[in-house]
């Protein structure tokens, strides 16, 4: 049980990339509906989930993120009609590769959140924080130079 007590102290840093049209609006709706999620979730707005370069995700881990989540419109609802389909392939392959290299598969996630799904956004973030908290700190993809700035 010691582990769990330790984890309680640990507040993971979550970087969430949200597409401007659906998921960022979903996050706004979560806000206007006062549906809370932990403050350690920080959102970066991108025009479309397909703007997210694997480099961004790796960089976030390097800088000390413990979990990275990418949110976009539901497949079929992309504002740019097909961006999220590309995201789906790219991230499937990237996350599969990260897992192949031994990175915990729970650390990366893709979720489709529409502009109407404020409740889903909040639920997803709460769940992701919970998952990452249980998983513990990101040690496998950290950059010690960045950590030393603590």
């Amino acid at each position: 049980m010691q582990e769990i007590t330790e984890n309680k102290e640990f507040k993971p840093l979550i970087v969430a990339f949200c597409c401007n049209w659906c998921s960022y609006a979903g996050a706004d709706l979560a806000g206007s509906s006062r549906l809370s999620y932990p403050a350690n979730v920080k959102i970066i707005r991108v025009p479309c989930s397909c703007r997210v370069n694997p480099i961004f995700i790796l960089k976030a881990f390097q800088r000390g993120a413990d979990g990275v989540i990418l949110c976009g419109c539901h497949p079929g609802d992309c504002h740019y009609s097909e961006g999220n389909y590309r995201t789906r392939r790219r991230m499937s392959l990237l996350f599969s590769m990260l897992n192949y290299l031994g990175i915990e598969k729970e650390r990366t996630r893709v979720e489709w959140v529409s502009a109407a799904e404020g409740a889903k956004f909040s639920a997803v973030m709460n769940d992701f924080v919970k998952t990452i908290t249980a998983l513990g700190e990101n040690k496998k993809l950290e950059d010690l130079r960045c950590k030393s700035k603590n």
């Binding site: 192949y100 031994g102 950059d143």
Partner: protein, 322 residues
């Protein structure tokens, strides 16, 4: 007639007729194994060689060669032809300027494996098809070819020419077993995350960032590589810690994903013998398993699994760790 002579004849014939101005082939090096890519002209065919130590994939050299004036004859082994097609697809080489001669390949050899047999002084290595005849330390031994194959040839993907204007094949080439190619990837997949992490941590920590893999890779033909570009945010010339090793290899593999033909040059040239092809092959396996079989460079094509998609593609969570 031996294949080496046939190849040389072909080069001479084309040069003499004026159909081509230059020939891209291999040139004999100082030792028995270090044959390297070279340009030959009508006046200079010195050191022309084709034997079991001609592993380098010549396709990539055409990127620069085809920019120059005149026509070029290139010799490509079956696996090299895929890289050639891929580069044509990406408009990196000008097909019009090139004559492709496909060459028989029974699998190239790895000199390290010969040295590992324990010889002190190797005098001669001869190709006896199934067996390799080595004369060393005053004796002659025969070793099965499979045991000496270069890492890139161990799991040969195909003996078929994806493209060739002519071919030179003396002995029949045996089609490789398709299924064996992904067996090591599958084994790695079966390990736990921790085991895999250890495996790769150990392998990638050997990386000295010599960039040999990148320089040899036929898919890496960017004018300026992102790793050399200060604006990219990931520029870096040395591995300062374990993260950068991973970053470099993940991003490199990702950048060639869907375009990598699995030619294995990266692993062949790695001075630290890191099995880099296992990273690329994982992408290929994931693509095959989830988006349908795909072989980059099989044809000159607009398609690539990373630019295509279907509406019914699986979700990341359905693929990761499966």
């Amino acid at each position: 007639m031996q294949i080496q002579e046939l190849v040389l004849h072909k080069a001479e014939e084309y040069l003499a007729s004026g159909k081509v101005d230059r020939v891209l082939a291999w040139k004999k090096g100082e030792t028995f194994y270090d044959n390297s890519p070279a340009i030959f002209t009508k006046d200079n065919l010195n050191g022309f060689v084709y034997n079991e130590f001609c592993a380098p994939n010549l396709s990539k050299y055409l990127v620069n060669e085809s920019k120059k004036e005149g026509k070029i004859l290139v010799f490509l082994k079956p696996c090299d032809t895929y890289s050639f097609n891929q580069l044509v697809s990406e408009h990196r080489i000008d097909r019009e300027k090139i004559v492709v001669i496909g060459l028989e390949c029974q699998g190239m050899l790895d000199e390290k494996k010969i040295y590992n047999l324990g010889f002190k002084r190797i005098e001669k290595v001869e190709d006896g098809l199934d067996n390799i005849i080595i004369t060393a330390d005053g004796q002659q031994v025969q070793i099965k070819r499979e045991e000496l194959l270069s890492v890139k040839c161990v799991d040969c993907k195909s003996k078929e020419f994806a493209v060739a204007d002519e071919t030179i094949v003396v002995n029949e080439m045996k089609q490789p077993d398709k299924n064996s190619r992904f067996s090591v990837v599958s084994e790695l997949e079966k390990m736990t995350e921790e085991e895999r992490f250890k495996f790769w941590q150990n392998e990638l920590s050997k990386c000295i960032r010599c960039n040999a893999c990148r320089n040899v890779c036929p898919a890496c033909t960017c004018t300026h590589c992102v790793f050399d570009n200060n604006k990219s945010g990931i520029a870096g010339k040395a591995n300062s810690d374990s993260f950068e090793e991973k970053l470099y290899h993940i991003i490199r593999a990702y950048h060639v994903a869907g375009r990598c033909t699995d030619c294995g040059e990266c692993s062949r040239v790695c001075p630290e013998s890191i099995p880099l092809h296992l990273i690329n092959r994982k992408f290929i396996k994931d693509i095959n398993d989830n988006y349908g079989e795909f072989q980059a460079g099989k044809t000159v094509s607009e398609h690539n699994p990373l630019v295509d998609y279907t509406k019914g593609d699986c979700e990341p969570k359905e693929m990761v760790g499966k």
